[in-house]
């Protein structure tokens, strides 16, 4: 496992004066601090211990003691969860909805932010603020009217309804991030291209969009996690249908298996494996994205 680095360019921590950095000996206070922090971590990680051990236990073992280690780690819970919960289908649904939403979100959001960042007019700024308003408005206010609208358009229980919703719901975040980045981006390249007679869309596609790569990474990471984890709207739109996404499937699963916690935990374990794998592979970028301080 590689380490988390939230740092920018500065080599070492600002809270620690260089005097202390120079002598990193194992002094008594330092050992105390290390042990203290490990104790905090142990308490903090207790739920993960429960998660892992319960998923491998037999029902009898679980009833005897919720805390013990599984005596004979069995995969039976996982196979049962996978088959009876139809988690494979749910995972495919989540992948389809998340990837298509993010793709369209990046296209629409970057284009819109390009216009808003380059148009210095009052109309442009007003539209930008209108998008930012979406970061605050609770989705609850429009929830019922939108649900009715989707129903009247016969879009409930389809990927389409969810994808449309997620794009609209994540757009304020995407526009905010892209516009901030674009304002700081020099215009020389695009102006040169324009002098050469290229149209706006082709300037954007060939010159501007490639320059947006760092912020596109942030937009993709934040929105993908938000969409993948989303529960309330997917529950309304695709709950109980073959199109349901993972969080909705897990919710249904919990109802079905009532008190068979070992199977429920195995199912939840399957559902978080993709997130954890991506987290450990891309943690540097993921943490940097979240450190910029936005979550939809």
């Amino acid at each position: 496992m590689s380490a988390v680095e939230v740092r920018t360019t500065r080599p070492a921590g600002g809270d620690v004066p260089p005097v202390r950095r120079a002598r990193r000996r194992w002094t008594l206070p330092r050992i105390g601090a290390e042990l203290g922090m490990l104790a905090v971590a142990a308490i903090f990680l207790f739920p993960f211990y429960v998660f892992l051990t319960v998923a491998f236990k037999t029902p009898a073992e679980l009833a005897r003691s919720p805390l013990s280690l599984p005596s004979d780690p069995a995969l039976a819970n996982f196979t049962e969860a996978w088959q009876r919960g139809d988690l494979g289908t749910a995972m495919v649904n989540s992948v389809v909805v998340t990837s298509l939403s993010v793709l369209l979100l990046v296209a629409c959001g970057s284009l819109a932010a390009y216009v808003l960042a380059r148009r210095g007019t009052r109309l442009g700024y007003g539209t930008y603020l209108l998008f930012l308003l979406g970061l605050m408005i609770p989705l609850q206010l429009g929830m019922v009217p939108l649900y009715q609208l989707m129903r009247d358009l016969n879009l409930l229980q389809t990927y389409t309804s969810l994808i449309i919703f997620e794009i609209g719901h994540q757009l304020p975040l995407a526009v905010f991030l892209y516009a901030g980045f674009l304002r700081a981006l020099p215009r020389d390249y695009e102006e040169a291209a324009r002098v050469d007679g290229a149209g706006s869309l082709s300037v954007f596609r060939r010159i501007v969009f490639p320059l947006l790569r760092p912020v596109t990474g942030t937009v993709v990471i934040l929105s993908a996690i938000n969409i993948w984890n989303d529960f309330l709207t997917p529950l309304l739109y695709v709950g109980g249908s073959p199109q349901q996404t993972l969080p909705v499937a897990i919710f249904a699963f919990r109802g079905e298996f009532a008190s068979q916690w070992q199977v429920i935990f195995a199912g939840m374990g399957i559902a978080i494996v993709p997130i954890l794998v991506i987290y450990f592979l891309l943690q540097k970028y993921i943490i940097k994205g979240f450190a910029s301080g936005i979550k939809g």
Partner: protein
């Protein structure tokens, strides 16, 4: 969310006229796809919802009748909604304060030279990435009366502290708040760690030479420079916890009784269980007003604080 957007820069100079003409050539047409999605999903339904809040609308077949402020009168007198209103405020304020302090403490601890700091950062942040539904069920089990938490308390000799964490209405709300903080403290930590990277070490060296101790350096050098990070962390936590739905809905469903009901949960139940669309959007409108009020309050408070610094 931080609405610290500055108005678009108006560069002066001789190039202005030339640039203007070019800038104007980014056509508004490119905005259309985003605006369509945004208007369809957010703007139009939100406006409709604000209108329905003043009606007794109960579904497609019935025509909504205007009922004035009746929905709001009911909201402030019905036990479920009143409890939800109170709980929502309690959750928002306590989560915001505690999570910010815990996140700050973790960040300060892990910004030091600890050998395990990178591993611990990874661990502490992990819950913030996981689906709230799964976090909810995980804790629902941990907090059952014969579950792991009470077992662990017994094992370390604190059996007297054992509770029916989610089933006893006097501790259920505190349990929910604890779960939310456990899940999101890592997010606050990450924001503060990014802020700490921006504190120049030279300032600490200078303060040390002037004879400032550890605590004084923290109080007078580090904390003031963390104000931008604090702004972000506070608004993020505040808005998020005001809208809280997932964890509550899966862990307690608002119970026992109305002990953990939040505005989002009551709103959902009134709309999609009872079919009272008008009343439910009135609840959502009150939630919206609260979010905006807190955002304004925070903006003003932080401005004043920044002036003082």
């Amino acid at each position: 969310m931080t609405l610290t957007a500055s108005p678009p820069s108006t560069d002066g100079g001789p190039e202005v006229a030339r640039r203007r003409s070019r800038r104007a050539s980014v056509p508004y047409l490119l905005l259309v796809p985003a605006l369509l999605f945004y208007a369809f999903v957010v703007l139009w339904p939100t406006l409709q919802g604000a209108g329905y809040a003043f009606t007794d609308w109960a579904g497609r077949r019935e025509t909504p009748g205007f009922v004035g402020l009746d929905n709001f009168t009911e909201l402030f007198s019905a036990p479920a909604a009143r409890s939800a209103l109170r709980n929502t405020l309690v959750i928002a304020v306590s989560t915001t304060i505690v999570q910010t302090l815990v996140g700050l403490a973790l960040a300060l601890a892990l910004h030091s030279a600890l050998a395990s700091r990178n591993l611990l950062r990874t661990m502490f942040f992990a819950p913030a990435l996981l689906p709230p539904v799964i976090i909810g069920f995980l804790w629902q089990y941990i907090l059952t009366p014969a579950g792991p938490l009470n077992d662990a308390l017994g094992a370390v000799g604190l059996g007297g502290l054992a509770q029916n964490w989610l089933g006893d209405s006097s501790v259920a709300l505190a349990s929910v708040i604890g779960v939310i903080i456990w899940q999101n403290a890592g997010l606050t930590m990450v924001i503060y760690l990014a802020g700490l990277e921006g504190v120049p070490p030279e300032l600490h060296e200078a303060a040390t030479m002037d004879g400032a101790g550890r605590w004084q350096r923290l109080r007078h050098v580090t904390l003031p420079l963390l104000l931008p990070a604090t702004t972000i962390a506070l608004s993020l936590t505040l808005i998020g916890s005001l809208k809280l739905f997932d964890q509550v809905y899966v862990m307690t469903g608002g119970g026992p009784g109305y002990a953990t009901e939040t505005l989002s949960v009551v709103m959902y139940k009134e709309a999609f269980v009872s079919g009272r669309y008008g009343y439910s959007t009135a609840i959502a409108l009150v939630l919206t007003m609260i979010v905006f009020a807190f955002a304004l309050l925070q903006l003003r408070g932080l401005r004043r604080f920044e002036v003082q610094q």
